[in-house]
């Protein structure tokens, strides 16, 4: 751990980001948003929160309702047209904004160009911290055994698997254990989780088994949707293992 770079003090760097917190975090998991703000505050990053934001359009897009997805994505584009870098504490919503929203509009249209431009300055949280800020230690302390689940879109659409691990390993006192097949899907899959509820749950049970195999007390991921699914299964099974969003883990510091 000694070779890790020291926490970067960015207090004097004028950095302002716009937080896209995602609808699920806003409405169901506010603590993840608050944690994200805490981390960025501590690193000296100014956080702007535009209250016009709602959803990125992913639920409709993934179920084949392109028109409805476009309607919602258009609102996102309007709200973020003139913002700074956009930070998103979710791998799958970041994927929607970076990969799929640009495909919803004709490439040469004003919206198409805007979507690509915003996609270029949109960051998933862990990637923003590690790649843009060069931070691997947020100053958090958490003396527990923790394992990490790679959410699929983050890993395979955005190629982000190294950054969250660096950040987890940078938490003071933590014992990080890889679970077997960490990159295997948890089975959530958006509307798949209700359309094929039994299959989704069966895949999730495999994930829960590997989480238990790791011996960790906490399973960390960077998508509240996967965590809602995994956590729901853990709770139904009466497991002692708890879910934790990456931002919640990284904000466990004394204030």
């Amino acid at each position: 751990m000694d070779s890790d770079p020291a926490p970067v003090n960015l207090a004097d760097v004028a950095m302002k980001v716009s937080l896209f917190v995602t609808c699920l975090v806003d409405q169901v998991f506010p603590q993840v948003g608050l944690s994200t703000v805490k981390i960025l505050d501590r690193l000296g990053v100014d956080v702007d929160f535009d209250e016009r934001q709602a959803c990125c359009g992913q639920p409709a897009f993934n179920s084949g309702h392109a028109d409805e997805s476009r309607t919602v994505a258009r609102r996102f584009l309007e709200a973020y047209a003139d913002s700074g870098p956009v930070v998103v504490p979710s791998g799958s919503c970041a994927t929607m904004l970076k990969v799929f929203v640009p495909t919803l509009f004709p490439p040469d249209s004003r919206e198409g160009r805007l979507a690509r431009e915003i996609a270029g300055r949109t960051y998933e949280l862990s990637d923003f911290l590690v790649s843009a800020l060069g931070v691997t230690r947020t100053g958090a302390r958490f003396p527990e055994a923790v394992t990490y689940h790679d959410s699929c879109h983050q890993l395979r659409e955005l190629g982000i698997g190294r950054q969250p691990r660096l950040l987890i390993q940078g938490v003071e006192g933590i014992r990080f254990v890889e679970m077997p097949n960490a990159a295997r899907c948890c089975g959530f899959g958006g509307t798949f989780s209700v359309k094929f509820a039994d299959v989704s749950a069966a895949i999730g049970e495999d994930k829960v088994d590997t989480i238990h195999e790791s011996g960790a007390r906490y399973v960390v991921a960077n998508d509240v949707s996967c965590l809602m699914h995994i956590g729901g299964l853990l709770q139904r099974r009466g497991s002692q293992v708890r879910t934790l969003h990456l931002a919640e883990l990284l904000s466990k510091f004394e204030e």
Partner: protein
């Protein structure tokens, strides 16, 4: 007729025997594949190369197919073009009748499954015999292939012993060699008495007229050389331009499919027996089958589906296939490739659930040796299914209505916040013993297996507003 998947899942998930057979078998295939891939330092380069060759070939498919036809004819073979499966069957049955052939030795061909070749041959009393061990097991048990590469993957050794005991009179045994020897002895007799052999094709080389067929049991070469007539059936997308392309494709195929450096046999078939040769068929026919492929070719968004080399790696790595297996799909092709191919070969209306039988995890794309963007194609197909449903329905389907309402709510911050507040106000009515239970549509599927998280008192934005007011 519509193919359904959702109504099949609960039976396969609760089939303890199937679940016990499935996981170790796929795990073994996956590990073998991963080991074989790790040995190739330029795997990613080869994948991209193969992807590019396929894209190029598909962009000039007519040219390469005609070149292949000319070469096959020049070598003494005959080429038949079939627009549909029915046309292919009509030709094959007609030929067998004309030659008064009584028995057909078949090697494994997914195209044969696709056009229901066995059913048609049986109906016309031609007595087709599957000579690939896995396919033979499937034929004896009157099933369809469970997997495009390993058709009897779901069968345990014990089940095969039972089956051979029942069908072939094999005495009970625990010895795998004794089991295969039984099949071998039976199949040898069939090879020697078959009037025609039917095989599939992995790659048809336009430049040389060579058909490459991979196998591990030696049955393909017997099908292609012992009987008087050899009929090779090939989907039109299986053509590759040059012989040298095989160096890349054979490597990708064998390592992806079975984790082998090379299959035990790779057959290069160049037409019928020539003057002075002492074996090989008298007559050789290549049947080029379209059966919906040119429709896929015409669609630039979905065309890459035709690049598939049927290695089956996407099935092995798919979390959905790992749980529900092949038969639940109800279609010839299963798993991720089946989910995109089936609605395209038939129609979005005929296989409306196939594109949705995926968590979109992307493991298939990551594993695909020719880099077919399966998750993105699934999304395109989902869109088409929804459009089709709305076009055909007399009333707006419930899901479409819900999505329109959702889009309406989400596109105004006021409506969005109102809805959020409303949910938070009503949610205490669903909390029992500290757990949120919502056993009603559309949450019932969720609720059956998972707890829902309780909702917070206030949304993130409300809490942030307060924090900022306090000057934190």
């Amino acid at each position: 007729m519509q193919l359904r998947i959702r109504s099949n899942t609960s039976a396969v998930l609760s089939d303890a025997n199937l679940q016990a057979n499935l996981k170790p078998a796929l795990e073994k295939s996956l590990q073998a594949r991963d080991r074989a891939v790790a040995e190739v330092s330029n795997w990613e380069e080869l994948r991209q190369h193969a992807h590019d060759v396929k894209a190029h070939t598909l962009s000039r498919l007519d040219h390469y197919l005609e070149q292949l036809e000319r070469k096959v004819i020049a070598q003494g073979g005959k080429v038949v073009w079939a627009d549909t499966g029915a046309e292919a069957l009509e030709f094959i049955v007609g030929l067998l009748q004309e030659r008064e052939i009584k028995k057909v030795a078949k090697s494994k061909t997914m195209l044969g499954e696709e056009i229901h070749l066995n059913e048609e041959l049986e109906r016309a009393h031609f007595n087709p015999v599957e000579t690939d061990l896995g396919e033979y097991i499937i034929q004896l048990s009157r099933e369809t292939p469970f997997h495009i590469v390993t058709p009897a993957l779901h069968k345990s050794k014990e089940e095969v012993v039972d089956l051979f005991g029942r069908e072939l009179g094999m005495p009970p045994t625990d010895d795998v060699e004794a089991i295969t020897a039984t099949a071998r002895a039976v199949l040898r007799r069939h090879f020697l008495t078959a009037g025609a052999g039917i095989t599939g094709v992995n790659f048809g080389v336009a430049e040389t007229g060579t058909l490459a067929v991979v196998e591990n049991e030696g049955n393909v070469r017997l099908c292609a050389s012992l009987p008087e007539v050899h009929i090779a059936i090939m989907g039109i997308e299986k053509v590759v331009p040059r012989a040298r392309d095989l160096a890349v494709f054979l490597k990708l195929l064998s390592r992806s499919a079975t984790g082998q450096k090379s299959t035990s046999y790779v057959n290069f078939i160049n037409g019928p027996r020539r003057e002075g040769e002492w074996d090989g068929p008298r007559d050789f026919y290549l049947v080029l089958v379209d059966n919906g492929r040119s429709r896929i070719l015409a669609d630039p968004e979905l065309r890459q589906t035709l690049a598939c080399i049927r290695c089956g790696a996407c099935l092995n790595v798919c979390p959905v296939y790992q749980r529900i297996g092949g038969h639940a799909y109800g279609s010839t092709y299963q798993g991720p490739i089946g989910a995109i191919l089936t609605p395209q070969l038939t129609s979005a209306e005929a296989a409306p659930e196939h594109p949705f039988a995926s968590s979109l995890c992307g493991a298939c794309y990551e594993t695909c040796p020719v880099k077919i963007e399966i998750p993105h194609i699934l999304l395109k197909l989902r869109e088409r299914v929804q459009r089709g449903k709305q076009r055909l329905a007399r009333h707006l389907p419930l899901e479409a209505w819900a999505m329109q309402f959702w889009a309406w709510a989400m596109s105004s911050p006021k409506r969005y916040s109102f809805l959020g507040n409303f949910m938070r106000r009503v949610h205490p009515f669903f909390v029992r013993n500290g757990r949120m239970r919502v056993p009603m549509p559309p949450f019932s599927g969720w609720d059956r297996y998972r707890d829902l998280p309780p909702l917070p008192e206030e949304s993130f934005r409300e809490q942030l507003r307060e924090l900022r007011k306090e000057g934190k």
